[in-house]
């Protein structure tokens, strides 16, 4: 299976990293700015191991510290993300309004296995991507929109009072748009 982490974009990513390092170098907390810039410039919104290694080399920050920062913050992804990101709120209010069922249904529809992630080393929160790289399902602790529970964020657009049918419709629409 061809992976998106192929070496092909390495040269382009290198220039992105060089620019980010040049911009942030010497500032306190430079690492976070660099990681953020590199991830957002990546087509699949993730930080590859090659990128992390190169960042460590260029900044002189120990690789272990780069890895530590990249795994500590939920913002950073070490795996390629799907074209569409669906984020299900698992906060208390959304939970009581049935967000677990929503999440399970969503995973079922997309053919993802929620339990697979439990053994993974950074399964603090769920982040699953379909094999065709179309959808990524994530969870979040709270959007701060508890009155609208259950809340689901689809490509940074917040949907309120979501039920299984509206979510399914949304996912189908996204799936068709890409075809």
């Amino acid at each position: 299976m061809p992976t998106v982490a192929d070496k092909a974009p390495a040269a382009r990513e290198r220039t992105v990293i060089d620019q980010a390092v040049a911009k942030h170098h010497g500032h306190p907390g430079e690492l976070l700015g660099i990681l953020e810039a590199v991830q957002s410039a990546n087509a699949h919104k993730f930080l590859s191991m090659d990128a992390l290694r190169y960042i460590a080399e260029e900044t002189g920050i120990p690789p272990a510290r780069v890895y530590s920062a990249a795994t500590f913050f939920a913002l950073f992804n070490l795996d390629p993300q799907g074209d569409n990101v669906i984020c299900v709120c698992r906060g208390t209010a959304c939970h009581t309004r049935g967000s677990r069922d929503l999440l399970e249904k969503l995973c079922l529809d997309l053919g993802l296995h929620e339990h697979e992630v439990n053994d993974s080393n950074q399964a603090d929160k769920l982040a699953l991507t379909t094999p065709d790289q179309k959808f990524t399902v994530r969870t979040v602790a709270c959007f701060g929109q508890c009155a609208l529970a259950p809340v689901v964020e689809v490509n940074h657009r917040i949907l309120s009072h979501v039920n299984e049918r509206t979510l399914q419709r949304e996912v189908n629409a996204l799936g068709q748009r890409r075809k």
Binding site: P62, A64, V66, Y67, T71, Q122
Partner: protein, 241 residues
């Protein structure tokens, strides 16, 4: 350079401390013992283990003595029923988090965690065990990293960064998924900047970082060889006679 001296009370006793000292250092200077796990003299203090907690008069919160600087007029209690309760709880939490099975550990009876549990009178643990399935890194030619025995005190991280200057170790992820990692979660044997100095092994309070060859499992006896040798010698003597 003379530093400003400060008067504080430790367990009712009036003590002179220096500005910039931590409560722990001030107490140790007067011969008082405060239990510690993540603290190692010479390394920076991080307050990770919560075993060195002390009571400060005028506040309900317990304070970690290793990271709290002394202030004029502080009155500190280093032992009380409440402190024992909290210290015991902290150690019990450490015991349930990973697989601390003393009888099969390289550091059995040379372990600070075990000694701490004994001195706090922990005979059993009241919380359910996590029983995580964690890997053991045997890739380094001389040392072993066993995540099952790690208490995340970060002594290895600090000794490597502050004393050796190699910066091999760091804590990755967060919460119960936290792990000690070398480089980009590479095998320890592949860590390019590891000098193999073994300071992390010496700093480790438990059996998480250990020298190879000391595990119970590795102490294989070859008693057949003795028999074989004795039998051979006996037959040779018979022939010569």
């Amino acid at each position: 350079m003379p530093t400003k001296t400060i008067s504080i009370r430790i367990d009712g006793e009036l003590v002179t401390a220096h500005e910039g000292q931590s409560i722990l250092e001030a107490a140790q200077a007067t011969g008082k013992q405060i239990p510690t796990l993540c603290y190692l003299k010479g390394l920076s203090a991080v307050g990770a283990c919560r075993v060195c907690m002390v009571e400060l008069a005028g506040t309900d919160r317990l304070l970690p003595s290793c990271t709290t600087p002394v202030q004029e007029g502080m009155s500190i209690k280093t032992t009380s029923a409440k402190l024992t309760l909290y210290r015991r709880m902290a150690v019990e939490m450490l015991l349930v988090e990973r697989n601390h099975i003393c009888s099969a550990c390289v550091s059995n009876s040379h372990c600070e965690l075990q000694a701490m549990a004994q001195s706090l009178g922990i005979t059993h643990v009241r919380y359910p065990y996590n029983n995580p399935r964690l890997p053991v890194d045997m890739t380094h030619p001389r040392f072993v990293l066993d995540h099952n025995r790690c208490i995340l005190c970060t002594r290895c991280v600090r000794v490597c960064a502050e004393v050796e200057g190699a910066n091999v170790w760091e804590v990755a992820s967060r919460g119960i998924y936290s792990r000690i990692v070398s480089d980009l979660k590479d095998d320890w044997g592949k860590a390019t900047n590891c000098t193999g100095c073994g300071k992390c092994v010496q700093a480790c309070p438990t059996g998480a970082l250990a020298e190879k060859g000391f595990a119970v499992h590795e102490m294989v006896k070859e008693s057949e060889a003795v028999t074989r040798l004795a039998v051979k010698r006996a037959t040779q003597e018979n022939h010569s006679q």
